[in-house]
């Protein structure tokens, strides 16, 4: 309208400039989308990398030929025959040590079979191949193995087997399992939850139902949010200083008559982990309690209930699914945490099942760490196997949490 006002593109010019704008928009949109693709590909690469390591060809030699011990093929031997071989060939000291761990008579056939292989025949792994190579270049690998290790046997092996789950730790990758690690993780997480769940729920109830908006309570709330962001290794240092060192009489069990132990026990680890997940549990429980509608509280107060009666009979039961979901998420966090366990002194080599809070311990992620940092590739393979176990465990836990959440979410 006003000629000296400058002008905007009209008609054809407008179409052209708009087309240009749309073009640059779609380029950017493609860029945004590709970022998402990168994220998804990373996840795929990670999972693939783990699977790739857990299966594949392995070339190994027998140090002592099976024929030195038995005329029959090894696989055909029954339990008694295996036991006889062990009795005849193991030194009496070694036999007694095994007997002490678990009576030989009571051991299963696969167990004895493994012992024969591990102690007498002794496997020496020469080389391992990834799953992809094993499938795509099977011929080349066979040729290579035959050329390089003429005496070796080549076998396609799954490092993740039922035996892997039920065998204790071993210094030989071929015979190692995650049994002690899984049990250690379960003990540790159990103690952590026993410690953190009641306190965390209590703190959440206090903050949501009792606390008024004064300075102390604001500090508590800010503090909880900050604790959730403290690096896990700092919790490890706290656990080392308090649970392992200062409270050693309690956590080592010497107060209760346990001898020859130090503070580096499952109890210390569990308490440390409990401290670490406490803020998570509080925050999740607060959310769950917040979601309980106020009308419910007013109804309870309206019939003359005290605050605690209201909380106990109405708020908590309704918040329970949310609190449980939060605890499951806390459990899965605790199961995957590694750094604090290293600091409070997880043992690197344990072949005996933990039998109580005062045992020394190892845990699943600790084993993964140990095995990953070994130089030999067969240890990387069992690390991959242990990672699959860990991921399946976490997936199950998270799926349970999600199901729980979806099931109870629609209530209000």
């Amino acid at each position: 309208m006003n000629p000296n006002r400058g002008h905007y593109p009209e008609g054809e010019a407008l179409h052209r400039s708009l087309n240009g704008r749309y073009r640059s928009a779609s380029i950017w949109q493609a860029l945004f989308f590709s970022a998402l693709v990168v994220a998804i590909l990373s996840l795929a690469a990670l999972l693939y990398n783990v699977m790739d390591g857990a299966f594949g060809y392995v070339a190994f030699e027998y140090k002592n030929d099976p024929s030195e011990f038995t005329a029959k093929p090894l696989d055909d031997l029954n339990k008694q025959e295996l036991l006889d071989i062990l009795t005849a060939n193991l030194s009496s000291g070694a036999f007694k040590k095994l007997e002490n761990d678990k009576a030989m008579e009571k051991r299963s056939r696969p167990d004895l079979y493994t012992l024969v292989l591990e102690r007498l025949i002794q496997i020496d792994t020469k080389q391992t191949w990834s799953m992809t190579d094993s499938i795509l270049h099977s011929k080349d690998i066979k040729a290579e193995a035959a050329a390089k290790y003429p005496k070796a046997k080549l076998e396609f092996r799954s490092w993740l087997t039922p035996v892997f789950l039920t065998t204790p730790m071993s210094s030989k990758a071929e015979f190692a399992g995650v049994r002690t690690a899984i049990l250690g993780s379960l003990w540790m997480v159990g103690i952590a939850i026993l410690f953190a769940l009641p306190i965390g729920t209590g703190a959440a109830v206090y903050l949501q139902e009792y606390a008024n908006k004064n300075f102390i309570n604001r500090v508590i709330q800010t503090n909880i949010n900050n604790l959730a962001g403290v690096p896990s290794i700092v919790y490890g240092m706290l656990g080392l200083a308090i649970f392992v060192r200062a409270l050693e009489p309690l956590t080592s069990g010497s107060l209760f008559g346990v001898t020859d132990a130090n503070g580096r026990t499952i109890l210390s680890a569990g308490l440390t982990m409990g401290t670490l997940v406490l803020p998570l549990i509080i925050i999740n429980a607060q959310e769950a309690i917040k979601a309980v509608p106020d009308s419910l509280r007013q109804a309870a107060f309206g019939v003359g209930a005290t605050r605690w009666q209201t909380v106990w009979h109405h708020v908590l039961p309704n918040a329970l699914p949310g609190i449980l979901t939060g605890s499951i998420l806390a459990v899965s966090r605790a199961i995957g945490e590694t750094a604090p366990l290293i600091v409070v002194g997880a043992s690197t080599f344990i072949s005996i099942d933990p039998d109580g809070p005062f045992s020394k311990f190892t845990a699943l992620p600790i084993q993964i760490y140990q095995w990953t940092t070994r130089a030999q590739s067969e240890f990387h393979a069992i690390a991959a196997g242990a990672i699959i176990v860990l991921l399946v465990l976490l997936l199950t836990l998270n799926a349970t949490a999600i199901l729980l959440r979806n099931r109870f979410q629609k209530k209000y």
Partner: protein, 262 residues
């Protein structure tokens, strides 16, 4: 009706229905809106005033299930035609919202942003000054153009939103209850401003305030829910404002403007 490119009309609707899913929020609207006049849309809340207004610059497109049947004609082109770009429509038909919504940028950038993205060729400083003068805001903000728009009062913010709308030189300005969130003095200033703006622009305003409609508008469209109980709104009467308020044809309009409604 036969005169499609009727130049005296800024915009017209033909058999316009607006749907949300299967629900017709607005039914059968036929209006011819005159150029450089202020047209008010009044009616009880929930009768589809805002929905109708937002149809004029295709803002309803952002409601996923919404669609229209019928036509809205601007210079003889149907705004809902297949090859129409809603971005071009909004470039020609600006809008001022109920609550002032300046961008979290400086006052200056609030005005130049629209000009920049729309490929404005000319002097930006001049554009800013003229737009702010056009919105009667220049004298109040000329010394703090680089300050954040959030430092202005609500009424000033709303005039800034008007300024940034006229900066892109639209043909029509839609106003969705532009003064409902403002104090009486700011409201008065916006109303005065509208009288200035209509010299250059066609204005369509939604208001729930009948006095405001009577004060500012030249034409008034009265909207009501249809009698059949379908919860669908429609224009029951559309004519000169004076007529609507003094001698309405429809009994319901009379009840409403005299406060006997409901």
């Amino acid at each position: 009706m036969q005169n499609i490119q009727s130049p005296e009309y800024a915009i017209e609707t033909k058999n316009l229905f607006i749907f949300y899913g299967s629900f017709a929020a607005v039914s059968e609207v036929n209006m011819k809106i005159e150029k450089q006049k202020i047209t008010a849309i009044i009616g009880p809340s929930g009768c589809g005033k805002s929905t109708l207004l937002r149809a004029f610059n295709r803002m309803n497109d952002f409601v996923p299930s919404s669609y229209v049947t019928g036509e809205i004609l601007l210079h003889g082109q149907n705004l809902y035609g297949k090859d129409i770009d809603p971005v071009e429509v909004r470039r020609k038909i600006g809008m001022v919202f109920q609550k002032p919504n300046p961008f979290p940028k400086s006052i200056y950038e609030n005005i130049t942003w629209g000009a920049r993205i729309n490929g404005f060729k000319g002097n930006m400083d001049e554009l800013v000054e003229q737009s702010l003068r056009g919105a009667a805001l220049w004298d109040e903000v000329k010394d703090k153009l680089r300050k954040s728009a959030y430092e202005l009062s609500g009424g000033q913010q709303q005039r800034l939103c008007i300024a940034r709308t006229i900066a892109i030189q639209p043909d029509i300005i839609l106003m969705d209850e532009p003064a409902s969130a403002l104090d009486p003095i700011s409201t008065l200033r916006i109303e005065e401003l509208m009288q200035e703006l209509k010299k250059n622009y066609t204005i369509i305003i939604v208001t729930h305030n009948m006095q405001q409609a009577a004060r500012v508008s030249d034409y008034t469209a009265m909207m009501m829910l249809e009698k059949d109980g379908s919860r669908s709104g429609t224009v029951i009467e559309f004519s000169e404002t004076k007529r609507i308020f003094t001698n309405p044809k429809d009994k319901r309009t009379e009840d409403y403007v005299t406060g006997r409604f409901g």
